[in-house]
């Protein structure tokens, strides 16, 4: 167990690689009750969120969600989050545990009149159930074709008298859902999923596997790959920023980055051969010059090779560029690769 965002969280249950493979090949369940859940409502909620977050909220129909950023005035990332439109004028925001207070304070401070902002994190928990057997599992849980929501969408269900919201989202690159529920139902739901999931090989998964799975997909981790000093353009996540919008916090800075080009970019790399796994803060070199630093690194259980992400100077950020990773004074060759680093074999 380790402290994580104010919570005590398990790094692993049966082992990182074992849990990782369960998610890639069958089913894994992560406790995500530590994540923050905010409800934003009121007549102007959509317009207000549209100027507060980077992605295009106005494109969301009821029941749809999208990945987006909350930026500071300099375009730096306060948090990355998913916003779901749960009603005509009601939205659910799922944010990082370590950022709950900061996000909420920022939103409260910038709240427009007529908008209600509620932090329901203490009353609601969540689990992420991820892996190719997820539909079969819900067939078992609901006793019929579950008709799970489409990718990025959310809908309410009842599982054995427990009211839940199920979103077809995740942080692993596998098909999967995130289920949000009342805290009093947490233990019952957790045990129920493990029991019904047994026949599919479902395993409880910790933070360790969560990290290896998301890193193979090059999904960023706030606090490591994202920070208040980095903006989404530098992180290569411009897809989740709608620069066509006339107004949103941080827009001017992002346009400037877009115009002038980012000084550094978040790249993904693979080690060229076996060796020690890359780790955060190791230095990255190109042609003998230090060009940046690793922000996330591990041994990829799916690829069985060292992988990572890091910011390097824009001139050294092209796909295919040879890099060297300095590990305990010795340099090991690596190559910048296209994201994601792992692609499902169909």
């Amino acid at each position: 167990m380790i402290p994580f965002g104010g919570w005590l969280m398990p790094v692993q249950y049966t082992g990182i690689v074992d849990e990782h493979q369960a998610v890639r090949n069958a089913l894994g369940m992560f406790d995500i009750s530590h994540m923050g859940q905010f409800v934003v409502s009121g007549n102007g909620a959509r317009d207000w969120l549209d100027i507060t977050l980077t992605n295009s909220i106005s494109k969301l129909d009821v029941g749809q969600g999208q990945y987006t950023f909350l930026l500071n005035d300099n375009g730096g990332v306060i948090d990355d989050l998913i916003v779901y439109r749960t009603g005509d004028a009601e939205f659910l925001l799922v944010v990082n545990a370590a950022k709950v207070e900061e996000d909420f304070a920022w939103l409260e401070q910038h709240r427009a009149t007529g908008i209600a902002l509620k932090n329901r994190s203490a009353e609601f928990g969540g689990v992420a159930i991820q892996g190719p057997c997820v539909v079969e599992l819900f067939y078992e849980l609901l006793g019929q074709d579950p008709k799970l929501p489409a990718r990025n969408c959310i809908r309410d269900f009842v599982i054995e008298d427990m009211p839940v919201s199920i979103a077809r989202t995740g942080y692993t690159g596998e098909d999967g859902v995130e289920v949000f529920f009342r805290v009093q139902d947490a233990a019952k739901l957790w045990n129920l999923v493990l029991e019904r999931g047994k026949e599919f090989g479902a395993k409880p998964c910790g933070l360790g596997a969560r990290d290896t799975l998301r890193l193979e997909m090059c999904y960023p981790l706030n606090g490591s790959d994202l920070s208040a000093e980095r903006n989404p353009i530098e992180a290569g996540l411009g897809f989740f920023v709608d620069l066509e919008k006339r107004e949103f916090t941080g827009r001017d800075k992002l346009l400037e980055t877009k115009r002038n080009g980012a000084r550094e970019r978040l790249i993904a790399f693979k080690m060229n051969g076996t060796g020690p796994p890359p780790r955060p803060h190791y230095a990255l070199f190109s042609n003998g010059n230090r060009v940046g630093e690793i922000t996330s690194g591990t041994l990829s259980p799916s690829l069985n090779i060292g992988i990572g992400m890091g910011y390097v100077s824009a001139a050294s950020a092209k796909i295919g560029t040879p890099l060297e990773v300095e590990i305990r004074g010795q340099k090991f060759p690596a190559t910048i690769e296209k994201k994601p680093l792992y692609k499902k074999q169909l």
Partner: protein, 125 residues
């Protein structure tokens, strides 16, 4: 957890087997279980002279890199090259095939500073 009675132990989870003037060193079953999935081992070079408690090898799991310390002062006389291709031996056989290195010890009296199996059991609870 397996803690063989015939070995000595350090506070930092190394085990030590006496073999005449030499000692063989690895990490305990408890340590490998905590680290899980060992994926890389940086072995010491044979001939290296090392002080007691100095870091001499590195064991890396998916989770983290961990230093391995010399339990006493000595000279490295063997390193387990089998770990280069199969680092998981540390997980599957921590007290056997998963040994990491052997030291020729300078002074056998230094071994008195190491703890017994019972003391190590008490340490890990």
């Amino acid at each position: 957890m397996n803690v063989p009675d015939n070995l000595l132990y350090t506070k930092t989870h190394e085990w030590i087997r006496r073999e005449g003037d030499n000692i063989r060193i690895g990490i305990t079953d408890h340590a490998q279980a905590e680290l899980t999935d060992v994926v890389f081992v940086e072995l010491p070079k044979v001939g290296t002279q090392v002080a007691a408690q100095a870091p001499i090898a590195v064991v890396e799991s998916v989770k983290a890199a961990s230093d391995i310390y010399a339990p006493v002062k000595g000279t490295v006389v063997e390193a387990n090259n089998a770990l280069t291709n199969n680092p998981a031996l540390i997980n599957t056989d921590p007290f056997g095939e998963g040994w990491i290195f052997a030291l020729k010890i300078d002074n056998a009296d230094d071994l008195k500073n190491l703890q017994s199996a019972q003391a190590y059991k008490d340490q890990i609870g």
